[in-house]
C-alpha cells in the first residue's frame, strides 16, 4: 500500500458566509512529517500540533508516516481554527483507525483542545446552511454550537463533546437526537429598555415614533444629558417585530461574529464610539470582518456625537445606507455583507454643548459654524428627521412615566402595514423614490402649504420630496387616506434643515 487518501468537508468563514473547503488527507510511507497546504493562515497551520495531541490523548495513534493535508480550493485563503475536527477525522480515516465510508457526505467543523475536547467555532449557523447547500447529509460540530446550527433546517446536526465520541458515532452505536434549535426571539426580550422611561418630551417621543413608522433616519440635537442616548436606545422596542427571515439573518450575523449567546433578542442596537475607523464601521481588514453597520443589520445604528466621528468613516457609510449592503473589495475577492439598519444620530448644538441661545455658551462663531457644518456634510442628506432636544424640566422628570413601548409599537406596525400595502412587501416610506413620493395623495390645503414654501425658495427639490415622505408617514400613522394640512405642517416642522 503506497498511500491512503481520505477527504472530509469543512468550511472557512468569509465575512458572514461560510465557504466550503474540502480537506484531503494523504498518508504514505516516508520520513514522519505533517504538512498542511492550501493557503492556510497561522491558526490553520497550528492545527498540526492540536490534532497530533488530541489524537494521542484520545487513545488514537498518530501515524508516524508522511502526512500531507490539502485544503481545496487551493486558491481560497483559509482562516481560523475551525478545521481541526475535519483534519483529525480525515487523518483517522486515512490511517485506517476509523472506517467511515460516508465521511465525504458529512461536514465537520470545530476546534480541538489538546485533550481531544471540542471548542466552539464562529459562524456555526452559516456553516450548517452552507453544508445543506453543498448537499451534505449532516454536520458534526462542537456541542456548544449545536443549538445554533440547528436553526438551519433540512440538515442533520450532531454535537460532540470530544474527538473520542467519533468512533461510536461512526459505528452507529451512538445516535444522538437532533438538538433543539436556539429560540429565535422576534420581540425584544422582557426587561429590555422601554419607551416609558422617556418622561415628558412629547416632541421627541413623536419624532421617534415617526422615525420607527416610516423607517426614517433621525438626527437629535441637544445639550448633553437631555436624553438623546436614552431615546435612541428605546427605538428598537417600538420597531415592528422581526420577520422570521430577518431574525435568521440577525442570528447569522451574530453567529459569524461569535456573539450569538449575547444576542438579547429582538432587533440589534449598536452604538459604536465616535473614534471608530471606517473599517470598524462598515467592515474590512484582512481577512475582512463585519463592521458595526452589519452588526446593526435589521436594527438600529446609533451614532452619538455625530460631529466627532471621523469624516472618512461617515463617508464610508453613505453607499451602504443607500443600498442596504456593504461591499468590500480585496485582493482575495469581493465580499458582500448585509446592513439594512435604521440610522439614528445625536449631536450637541455647538462644541460646548449649551447651544448658541444659551448665554453661557462660550463657543466662537467660527467654531460653531465648523461644528454645524459637519452636521450638514457627510451623512446629512441621508437624514430625514430633525428633533431639537432640550433638558427636560424637573416637573417632567418627576412626572408620570410616558406611554409604554408596546402601545407605540402597535401604531407603528399599523402604519408599516399601510406602507407595505401601498409600496410592496418589506418597503417603507423612507425608501420611496422621488416619483413615488410625488405620487402621494395630497389634500388641497397640504399641497398649497408645500407649494407656498417651495415657491419662496425655502425648500430645495430634494427637501421637497423628503417632506412628502415624512408627511406620508404621519398620514399613515394617523390612518388617513390623503396627506392633510395638519400632517404637512408637522412634516415641515420635523424635516431636517438644509442650510447648516
Amino acid at each position: 500500500m503506497a498511500s491512503v487518501l481520505a477527504t472530509a468537508r469543512t468550511f472557512t468563514l468569509d465575512g458572514i458566509s461560510a465557504r466550503p473547503v474540502r480537506v484531503e488527507v494523504d498518508v504514505h510511507r516516508g520520513l514522519p512529517n505533517f504538512t498542511i497546504v492550501g493557503l492556510p493562515d497561522a491558526a490553520v497551520r497550528e492545527a498540526r500540533e492540536r490534532v497530533r495531541a488530541a489524537l494521542v490523548n484520545c487513545g488514537f495513534e498518530f501515524p508516524l508516516r508522511r502526512i500531507v493535508v490539502n485544503l481545496a480550493p487551493a486558491s481560497l485563503r483559509k482562516a481560523g481554527p475551525g478545521m481541526d475536527l475535519a483534519i483529525a477525522a480525515g487523518l483517522l480515516s486515512a490511517s485506517g483507525q476509523l472506517e467511515w465510508e460516508r465521511l465525504a457526505q458529512v461536514a465537520l467543523a470545530g476546534e480541538l483542545a489538546l485533550d481531544g475536547a471540542t471548542r466552539p467555532v464562529q459562524g456555526a449557523l452559516a456553516m450548517a446552511e452552507a453544508a445543506r447547500e453543498s448537499g451534505a447529509e449532516a454536520i458534526v460540530l462542537p456541542a456548544e454550537n449545536a443549538a445554533e446550527a440547528a436553526l438551519a433546517e433540512g440538515i442533520g446536526v450532531v454535537g460532540i463533546e470530544a474527538l473520542g465520541q467519533l468512533p461510536a458515532l461512526v459505528a452507529g452505536e451512538w445516535d444522538p437526537p437532533r438538538p433543539e434549535p436556539l429560540p429565535l426571539r422576534l420581540d425584544p426580550a422582557p426587561g429590555a429598555p422601554d419607551l416609558a422611561d422617556l418622561r415628558g418630551q412629547p416632541h421627541l417621543r413623536h419624532a421617534l415614533e415617526v422615525a420607527a413608522a416610516g423607517g426614517h433616519s433621525l438626527l437629535m440635537v441637544g445639550p448633553p444629558g437631555a436624553g438623546k442616548s436614552l431615546a435612541a436606545s428605546r427605538l428598537p422596542s417600538i420597531l415592528p417585530p422581526l420577520a422570521l427571515v430577518e431574525a435568521l439573518e440577525v442570528a447569522r450575523v451574530a453567529s459569524a461574529c461569535g456573539r450569538l449567546d449575547a444576542l438579547p433578542g429582538g432587533r440589534p442596537f449598536r452604538a459604536p464610539h465616535h473614534t471608530i475607523s471606517a473599517a470598524g464601521l462598515i467592515g474590512g481588514g484582512s481577512p475582512p470582518r463585519a463592521g458595526e453597520a452589519t452588526l446593526a443589520d435589521r436594527g438600529v445604528l446609533f451614532l452619538d456625537e455625530l460631529c466627532e466621528f471621523r469624516r472618512d468613516a461617515l463617508e464610508a457609510l453613505r453607499a451602504p445606507l443607500e443600498t442596504g449592503e456593504v461591499s468590500i473589495a480585496r485582493a482575495g475577492g469581493r465580499l458582500s455583507l448585509p446592513c439594512r439598519f435604521m440610522l439614528i444620530a445625536a449631536a450637541n448644538p455647538c462644541p460646548c454643548g449649551r447651544g448658541e441661545t444659551d448665554p453661557d455658551c462660550t463657543c466662537a462663531p467660527y467654531d460653531v459654524r465648523r461644528y454645524q457644518g459637519k452636521l450638514s456634510g457627510a451623512l446629512a442628506d441621508r437624514i430625514d428627521l430633525l428633533a431639537a432636544v432640550r433638558q427636560p424640566s424637573a416637573a417632567e422628570i418627576g412626572g408620570a412615566p410616558g406611554e409604554a413601548s408596546a402601545a407605540v409599537r402597535e401604531r407603528v406596525c399599523a402604519a408599516r402595514e399601510r406602507q407595505e400595502w401601498r409600496l410592496g412587501p418589506g418597503r417603507c416610506n423612507a425608501e420611496m423614490t422621488p416619483a413615488e413620493a410625488r405620487a402621494c395623495a395630497l389634500s388641497g390645503e397640504a399641497a398649497t402649504l408645500l407649494a407656498d414654501l417651495y415657491a419662496r425658495q425655502r425648500l430645495s427639490g430634494r427637501a421637497h420630496d423628503r417632506v412628502l415622505r415624512l408627511a406620508q408617514t404621519l398620514t399613515d400613522l394617523a390612518g388617513a387616506e390623503a396627506i392633510g394640512e395638519e400632517q404637512m405642517a408637522q412634516a415641515l416642522q420635523m424635516r431636517r434643515r438644509d442650510n447648516g
Binding site: 418630551q201 412629547p202 462663531p365 432640550r390 405642517a489
Partner: protein, 374 residues
C-alpha cells in the same frame, strides 16, 4: 449715466496704500490698527516716510511710474470703476472727514453712489461673533430700512454685517465697504453674498483691485462707513470691539449713533448697552432709526403679520417667553408634540419665527396684530 473718472494722482494714492500694506501693518498694530485713520490723513510723502522710511524712495518712484493707461486697464480688467475726491460723483458726505479717501474703487452699480445722501443712508455694524438675537435684528433692520428706501451700508464681515446685507438685499439697496480690493471677496465664505451685492448693490473700497486685507485696513474702512451714513447703528458688540471704532469715528464726524439694547448679562451686547448709557439713540426696530434720522413720524413702516388663532397665539407667546424647542413649547402650552410641531411650522411659514439648522426657534421682528411684547 455719469462718467466715472478719477484723476491719476488720486488713483496712484490707492495703489500706494496697497503697496504700503505690510509697512503700515507694522506701525499701526498697537491698538489693533486703530491708529490707521489718523495715519491716512498724511500726504503720500509723509505717509511713506513714517511707515517705510528705508524704501521710501523706491515706493514713491514706483507709484509715480504708474501711467493713467495702466491704472484704467487694471480697473477694467477687475471689472471695477473709480471716482476721486475731485469729481462730482464722489459722495459729499465723505468730504466732511479730514482723512477722507482720495479715490473710491467700486464694483457694482455706480448709480448708487450718485444718489447717496447721509439722511438716506444707515450704517449697520456689529460683532462678527453675534448671537442669533443679534443676527435676527440685523437682518430685520437691514430688510425694513431697505424697504423704507434707505441705503444700508455695512462691511461684509461675518455675523451682524452679513445679516444686515442679506436683509437689505431682500428688500432694496445695500453698499458693502471692504478693507481689501472691491474685487476680493473677503471673508471667502461670503463669496456668494459678495457676488449678490455686486449685482444688486455696490461694493466700494479705497484700495485698488486685488489688494489684500490687513488688520489696519479694517479701521480704515470703518471711517468710510461712518462718514457715508447719517446714522451708525450698533447691533451687538463686545466692550472692546472694532465696531466701536466705527461709532467713535461717526461721533467725531457729528453723525447720529444708535444702539440696539440687549441683555445686560450678555457680553455680546456690552458695546451697544454702553453706548445707550452714553446717550445713543435706542433702536428697537427700523421705525426707531427712521424717527431718529428723519424726525418722528416722517416716514412710517407699515407692517404687521397676519392675525392668528388662539392656539398659534399661545405658541407664539411661549416662544416669546423663551422656549426655543418644540418640546419646550409643548411643555408650557400643554399641547401634544404633534400639535406643537404643526403650530411652529405654521408660525414659521407666516414669518413670525425662524428655525436654525439645529431646530432652535427664534422670534422674528414681525409684530403680531395683538402682540404687546414687541
Amino acid at each position: 449715466m455719469v462718467e466715472h473718472r478719477a484723476c491719476v494722482d488720486c488713483l496712484r494714492r490707492a495703489w500706494l496704500l496697497a503697496d504700503l500694506g505690510p509697512y503700515v501693518e507694522r506701525i499701526a498694530t498697537g491698538e489693533v490698527g486703530s491708529r490707521s485713520p489718523e495715519l491716512l490723513r498724511l500726504s503720500n510723502e509723509e505717509l511713506v516716510e513714517v511707515a517705510a522710511p528705508k524704501v521710501a524712495g523706491q515706493l514713491l518712484a514706483r507709484t509715480a511710474a504708474l501711467s493713467e493707461a495702466r491704472l484704467s486697464e487694471a480697473l477694467e480688467q477687475a471689472g471695477c470703476w473709480a471716482c476721486c475726491r475731485h469729481t462730482d460723483v464722489y459722495p459729499a458726505s465723505l468730504r466732511d472727514a479730514a482723512d477722507a479717501p482720495w479715490a473710491l474703487v467700486g464694483r457694482g452699480s455706480p448709480r448708487l453712489l450718485d444718489r447717496i445722501e447721509p439722511f438716506e443712508t444707515v450704517t449697520i455694524v456689529g460683532a462678527r461673533r453675534a448671537t442669533s438675537y443679534g443676527r435676527e435684528i440685523a437682518r430685520e433692520l437691514g430688510r425694513e430700512l431697505a424697504a423704507a428706501g434707505m441705503i444700508v451700508v455695512s462691511g461684509l464681515a461675518f455675523g451682524i454685517d452679513g445679516c444686515a446685507h442679506r436683509g437689505a438685499l431682500d428688500a432694496g439697496r445695500t453698499i458693502a465697504v471692504l478693507g481689501c480690493g472691491p474685487d476680493v471677496a473677503y471673508p471667502n465664505s461670503h463669496r456668494s453674498l459678495w457676488r449678490r451685492i455686486c449685482e444688486q448693490g455696490l461694493v466700494i473700497s479705497e484700495l485698488p483691485p486685488g489688494a489684500t486685507p490687513w488688520r489696519w485696513t479694517f479701521p480704515a474702512r470703518n471711517r468710510i462707513m461712518a462718514a457715508l451714513a447719517g446714522m451708525t447703528v450698533v447691533v451687538e458688540a463686545a466692550s472692546r470691539s472694532g465696531s466701536l471704532i466705527t461709532t467713535d469715528l461717526a461721533a467725531d464726524l457729528g453723525r447720529d449713533l444708535g444702539a440696539v439694547p440687549g441683555p445686560v448679562t450678555s457680553r455680546a451686547s456690552a458695546g451697544p448697552n454702553g453706548l445707550l448709557a452714553a446717550g445713543a439713540h435706542v433702536i428697537r426696530d427700523a421705525q426707531d432709526v427712521l424717527d431718529a434720522m428723519l424726525g418722528p413720524g416722517r416716514r412710517r413702516i407699515e407692517h404687521s403679520g397676519p392675525s392668528l388663532g388662539s392656539e398659534l397665539e399661545t405658541v407664539l407667546a411661549a416662544v416669546e417667553a423663551g422656549e426655543v424647542t418644540c418640546d419646550g413649547v409643548a411643555a408650557v402650552t400643554g399641547l401634544s408634540g404633534p400639535a406643537a410641531a404643526a403650530a411652529l411650522a405654521r408660525l414659521e411659514l407666516l414669518g413670525y419665527l425662524d428655525c436654525s439648522s439645529v431646530g432652535i426657534y427664534t422670534r422674528t421682528l414681525l409684530p403680531s396684530p395683538t402682540g404687546s411684547s414687541l
